[in-house]
Each structure stands twice: as structure tokens, then as C-alpha cells.
Amino acid sequence: MKSKSDIRTLAEIFCVFFKIGCFTFGGGYAMIPLIEREIVNNKKWIKEEEIVDIFAVSQAVPGAIAINSSTFVGYKIAGYKGSLAATMGVVLPSFGIITIIAAFLSAFQENPVVQAAFMGIRSAVVALILVAVIRMTQTSVKDILTALIAFLTVILILVLNIHPVITIVLGGLVGVVIFAFFPEKSKRIMKGANENHDIY
């Protein structure tokens, strides 16, 4: 690649991410292997070690993982313009499809067959979310304290109707307090995290 931000490169970035956006079902985590195959193996735009760090950062900062990692990869390849091209590419397919579905659903919402189908689907969605909870528990709940934090979050939201943002801030504060006042505990936690090669 001669000039990294020429129109052809940007168009290529857009197309690759458009393709990724078309074929990922089930949200951000499902997108990770696809980005890896397209960007690292096929296009060779980014090295394998770099992509692991990019996924780690994408999960650590706010925002959807899919958008974060697309923005990041685009930026690495072609700067600001690259990140815009990548983000637009990854978002467009789902925007188009959902707009059509939302329009279609409004017309059929009162249909009893559609209602019955969604009644059944909602029950399955509860199971899907529970599976995600179980998977996340394995990497995020490692001791009594983190178990307590998870439990208290549920109570704060469901019983006391606290805003979710407040619980996120409180969780972060627990970490800061341990770091500031309990250096021994904090060292133990970090040692454990490093041994497990956590990416967050």
C-alpha cells in the first residue's frame, strides 16, 4: 500500500467491514473470529498480536464491542478516515435490515400468528440471556467479593430501581477502593488475573 488513506484503501476497508456486518449473528463476540480471518489472515492489514490487544481494548472501553473493534482496526489501517469507513461499513447492514424488519413488523404486529410466535421466542430469549450470564460469570466472578457485587447489582436494579449507570460507577469505585486501601488484596487479584491471561 502506497498511500494509506487513498480512496481505494478506504473503499476496501468499507467493503470488508460491510461483509463482516452482514455475516455476524449474535452480537459483538461473534464478530471477533470474522474480523480476525478477514483482517489478519486475508488482508494482512494487522498482525495477530495486535488484533488480540485491539479486542482487549474494545472490551475495556465503553461502547459496543463490534463498533469499537471496527473503529480501532480502521484507525490502525488508515487513520481517522479509516475508522469512519470501517464503522459505517459494519453498521450499515444491520441498520438496513432492522429498518425493513421494524417497518414489516409494525404491519403484522396485530396478527395472532406473529404474536404467538413472538410469545414462544421470548421464552427462548430468557434462556439465551441466561447462557450469556453463565458464560460471563466464569470470567468475571472469581471470588466472594465479585459474587457479592454481581448479586448486589441485581438487587439494586430490580428492588431499588437504581439507574444501571450508577451500578457501573459503583463497581469501578470498589476496584479503586481496594487498589487504594488494600494493596495486599489488590496484588493478589492482579496476580490471579495475570496468571489466567485475562483479556477484558
Binding site: G27, V91, S94, I98, T99, G120, M136, T146, F151
Partner: protein, 188 residues
């Protein structure tokens, strides 16, 4: 104006959703509840639609909520809104984050935030269950009042079957959703 309200709301949602995917659900729900953009059962349907259509769940639900609230332009505005925090934060972070990723304070903050995300996702399961498996909101008074009548047995059966299919037999989520939709048509 509704477009500005959608934009600001979804910037806020993008800004405070850590962990992606289902972690966004309680946040989006809280916000749309306060504006009455969608009913809670319509909201549960977004999750199902997001699972069977490609793309990140955050974008899917932003587009859906925006469309329902204010048509195609509403969907566009909400989608842009939910993407803005990612664009801005990643552009800043990508310049110097790599050096701080293993900083102890950073690690400890996420030690505290990660279990909160687990709790948030768990509450998303509860709120969808209220519209699918139970006939009313889950509270002590409804348990005492209605007893077993508050359980929707058809919904409970589909839920249990889906859970077994997903965990025990590793069936693909899209297949589980399609099958449960067919089961719904046959049962309800």
C-alpha cells in the same frame, strides 16, 4: 425535538455500556421506559430480532427503537448516536492505551465493573421473563395473590427446552429461536 432526544439518549447508552451485547439491555430499557418509546414486550422482541439478524445487538436495538419512535430518520439518528462514543473514545484511546492496559488501577477498576455487568445482564433475563414466562411482574405481592397462576406453563416449557438445547446440546441460537417461534404458534 424527538431526533435530538434520540441522539442524546443513544450517545448516553453508547457511553455507559461496558461489555457490549446483553449488557446494554437494562440501560436501553431504562431509557426507553422513561420516554415511552416502546412497550416492554416490544422491547423483548428486539432481543429476539437481534439474535436472528446480523450485526451488533447495540446497533440493532438503536435502529429499532429509533424507527419505532420516529421513523427511518429516527432509526438513523439513534444508530449514529450509539456509534459516536465508540468512534471518539477509540480514536483517543488508540493513541496511548497500549501502555496503560496493564496498569494496576485500570485492572482493579475492571475487577469491580465486570461483576456489575454480569448482574446487569441477569436483570435483563428477569425483565424478559416477566413478559414471557410469568403472567405479571415478579414481586412478593403477585406471588401471594396469584400463586401458581402467575406462571405461564407454555412459556416455562419453551424456556426449559431452549436452555437444555443451548447448554447440553450446543444448538445454534438462531435454530433455537426459529424452533421456539414455531412452538409458540403451535401452543398459544
Amino acid at each position: 425535538m424527538i431526533y435530538i432526544r434520540l441522539l442524546v439518549t443513544f450517545i448516553k447508552i453508547g457511553l455507559f455500556s461496558f461489555g457490549g451485547g446483553y449488557a446494554m439491555i437494562p440501560l436501553i430499557q431504562k431509557e426507553i421506559e422513561s420516554y415511552n418509546w416502546l412497550s416492554s414486550s416490544e422491547f423483548a422482541d428486539i432481543i429476539a430480532i437481534s439474535e436472528v439478524t446480523p450485526g451488533p445487538i447495540a446497533v440493532n436495538s438503536a435502529t429499532f427503537v429509533g424507527y419505532k419512535a420516529a421513523g427511518v430518520l429516527g432509526g438513523l439518528v439513534a444508530t449514529i448516536g450509539v456509534s459516536i462514543p465508540s468512534l471518539v473514545i477509540i480514536m483517543i484511546v488508540s493513541r496511548f492505551f497500549f501502555g496503560y492496559q496493564k496498569h494496576p488501577l485500570n485492572m482493579m477498576v475492571f475487577y469491580g465493573i465486570r461483576p456489575v455487568i454480569v448482574g446487569l445482564v441477569a436483570t435483563a433475563a428477569v425483565s424478559v421473563a416477566e413478559t414471557a414466562i410469568f403472567n405479571s411482574g415478579i414481586s412478593w405481592s403477585s406471588v401471594i395473590e396469584k400463586g401458581m397462576n402467575m406462571i405461564n406453563f407454555g412459556g416455562m416449557f419453551i424456556f426449559a427446552a431452549a436452555l437444555i438445547a443451548l447448554i447440553k446440546f450446543k444448538v445454534h441460537p438462531i435454530l433455537v429461536i426459529v424452533a421456539s417461534g414455531i412452538a409458540g404458534v403451535l401452543m398459544f
